[in-house]
Symmetry: C2
Subunit: 597 residues, 2 copies
Amino acid sequence: MLLRLSSLFVRTLREDPVDAEVASHKLLVRAGYIRRAAPGIYTWLPLGLRVLAKVEGVVREEMVAAGAQEVHFPALLPKEPYEATGRWTEYGPNIFRLKDRKGGDYLLAPTHEEMFTLLVKDLYSSYKDLPLTLFQIQTKYRDEARPRAGLIRGREFIMKDAYTFDLDDDGLAASYQAQRDAYVRIFDRLGLEHVIVAATSGAMGGSRSEEFLTPTAIGEDTFVRSPGGYAANVEAVTTVVPPSLPWDDAPAPHVEDTPDTPTIDSLVALANDRFPRPDRAWTAADTLKNVVFALVHPGGERELLVVGLPGDRDVDAKRLEASVAPAEVEAAGDADFAAHPELVRGYIGPAVMGPNAPAGPDGERTAVRYLLDPRVVPGTRWITGANEAGRHVFDLVAGRDFTADGTIEAAEVRAGDPAPDGSGPLELARGIEIGHIFALGRKYAQALGLTVLDQNGKAQVVTMGSYGIGVSRVLAALAEANHDERGLAWPAAVAPAHVHVVATGKDQAVFEAAEALAGTLAARGVEVLYDDRPKVSPGVKFADAELLGVPLVVVVGRGLADGVVEVRPRVGGEARQVPVATAADVVAELVDGLLAD
Amino acid sequence: MLLRLSSLFVRTLREDPVDAEVASHKLLVRAGYIRRAAPGIYTWLPLGLRVLAKVEGVVREEMVAAGAQEVHFPALLPKEPYEATGRWTEYGPNIFRLKDRKGGDYLLAPTHEEMFTLLVKDLYSSYKDLPLTLFQIQTKYRDEARPRAGLIRGREFIMKDAYTFDLDDDGLAASYQAQRDAYVRIFDRLGLEHVIVAATSGAMGGSRSEEFLTPTAIGEDTFVRSPGGYAANVEAVTTVVPPSLPWDDAPAPHVEDTPDTPTIDSLVALANDRFPRPDRAWTAADTLKNVVFALVHPGGERELLVVGLPGDRDVDAKRLEASVAPAEVEAAGDADFAAHPELVRGYIGPAVMGPNAPAGPDGERTAVRYLLDPRVVPGTRWITGANEAGRHVFDLVAGRDFTADGTIEAAEVRAGDPAPDGSGPLELARGIEIGHIFALGRKYAQALGLTVLDQNGKAQVVTMGSYGIGVSRVLAALAEANHDERGLAWPAAVAPAHVHVVATGKDQAVFEAAEALAGTLAARGVEVLYDDRPKVSPGVKFADAELLGVPLVVVVGRGLADGVVEVRPRVGGEARQVPVATAADVVAELVDGLLAD
């Protein structure tokens, strides 16, 4: 393969696109790999498409090696199967919906569990047909509220989605493991660092799920790890619940005037000033903060929810969202507070919420739902709102003086928090989700009637798994992991070409030698990008070579007079002067080495 | 490659799907290549996907060989570019439209002229950048009123669309020719018979367009050919206009009672009975039939149109549609006639329409639009309606007694009609449109502002071409052209496998020998489908082999005791007994021969 820059459909840009925040997005646009067509929707230019095809190729090979068979579903699908599983509603505004000319409801599929289930139901009927693994590499759609970071969170994107079908739980476990192993091989081959973490299942449902994250500071996901090997997305971390405490010696609750203390900090300062504690100073951890949210359920109903948590912790929006899904979370607004005058902003206390709320005039409860952080165990003592402006209650004891409607995992996870499995203190890091695997169990098969006859001729509901890789996102993650301030620096396995030959100067002999070298390399199967542009300065050509990120750069220029060309890796290596006579051999060998890495 | 039927995700069906009318649709479903997901929307199963990939591969290779560079656009696109060219409206109900969560208007693109134009505008600015040819192979959408024939007229389908960009008309002509030549090579390589015919441009616009049709009785398109080499889609045929006639000797028009003559046949019979013509009998060709249609314009406005044509010809719905596009045609209904009482069903005559219509009471004309077949030249004499039930007018002379708002190409083309270029009488045939190429000219570049600076530094509007191949439709056309009553019979170049090895009987030695042969062939690069299913009868296996349509069938069975296997082509050849020891060599050589064809 020989691509000439003089005719290749690419233009490099010196300026970052205005809407780009992360390096992969900036560089993929600047280097002419992708172009924005609409928010979260991108066009692939020739170089980008070449990288994409190589990433797809690795994914496809490992899927086939793992025994998966490739199929291809439509993106445009009728509503009915998604209604049968409830996801038509659960996805809320996150899916693109449309009507056809006859008024039929359709969607642009974000994932295909329903269709795969129905297809297997259509074709298979016996336990002998199982296990079965199918996959596709296909364009998917999500109407993201906030598309961002270029390909990392898009609205039209490319996914590999695989689905396994088994008769029993052991079969599912084996199929799940086979996909998990294939994922490790895929990311290893792509040279993409990855961490496997426990995850929540969200709208997908199912019994077990894990995410593959690639660590990066610009990642949207936060995950935790412990010295003992625990790893989870923060959304999946469960709080270690401390033991309950006796309250026999606890003083009775007492309401105090605490003027002008709408914040935790001001409350703690005032408490230490006016109501000092004998043994130690009050801290934010002694206060019980009650935060009001509005949940919007998939059907559109709005419900208030108050989360009570120690004042030294904030609510983690993503953990809260994961806990209340498929409902969406909004900030409570003036109208919400107006509808619930018992919630006095800045001074909200348990007495007016959940089971503690007094019955209404007609004996009917319309209390706001109240959920507690799991650390608020019986016997813990709190300073919290007295439901009057400027007043707080002290020594309010959980279990004795108040209860709640339940607990919720919504408080932030902090470095040093204990791992739920006792494997030590957690550390936090950020990453991009590049894969997600789900042991779905029987949810979809049950909803859509996928059964097979077992050895005894009895119908058994099939158990399933689903396994996704964000192929276009993986490309962005690779760009994110392989760049420097000068541009992209692709691993050879996915680079749009192996060698970037640059002819510099105006000397016709240079261009002839470069053309000959490029041709020789191409004839040997090396993929060559050849900068044959006349009247473009060496500086511009070198800058473009560094921006485009082909792993090996060969400069044919002034050295030609001395019979040498310069061979230099895009990153991490020294430039070498190589006799022009042996240049093709040397370069081909270097390429083989890079591809074997 | 070695696919084992025992685990391959395929089920053959003995019964035709109820919604299938054409052989390719029936067989592709029965053989387990595709499955219907919704009307006009199909899922690709493993065997279908393999054929599709091969067709795509041929198309891609020839595009690249013709100098086209591959890109990939989104399917989900914002309205604005399509509004700028008018196509957002012109496509009417034929495109899928949707809104995103913010209320923005989007469409699922049926074709991408606008986006390619904008992309080139984004990247290029100089005449030195041209000529340029880009292409993509991509999923496209049309909300067809009547999806039919499986993949032949679907609502989600796969297209190769290419676009050329040139500075001047000569450049466009050369680019057009290069794509045209590539199309010929593609269809030649696929072994698909094709005819290139002149075509109308429809909503696409442009100065010249040709269709590639593959002849088949089930085709939706009718095309014509003349002995002298004229070829056109019937929609593009222009009528040979006879010379005008003198009317000096023509009798004056006279109205006659013609009771109970609502049809042409009844009118001709009555005319011959009561008003015989001295020189010869009246025929239907002496009558002027006026047919009422309702046009629905893209904006939704409804307009009546009357087409006047010789009574021996019918209106060809597709020719009419092509002539009035982007308006759609509907039958005129009771409400339409009620709104125009001057149109007396069965007895409509020119006097009440178009320029002949009397002015209204207030002097204002609200006449129904009236267009004539081009054969109705000045001086021709007609029997036609007198605009009263039971009465017709005789000797009504065009040009003397009536005129019209213009002419229209809407009458059927008949075998024997003269070719418009004088190359002889036309013959008619049917075909499937497999490709369509358009010299667009400057329509899109003008609307979207794509200019480049020429040698003199002056901005020039770029001239464009667009070139489509219905890739999924080509697959169906190949199935249509390559089948018999027993099943599919793929050309080797696109077959899902080269060889179908069938192991028959229960003898373990047979299965071992078949497995060994399949393995040996696969190791040599032959693509093998191996029917290793135990407990399936030879009859079922042979029927499946014929249904699936792999070009070469190798039977390992009873003959093995005598040291031979049977090798037989799926079609058009004799079965041979081949010694098992040399079977791999013989088969590999046969495969090479088939692929070289």
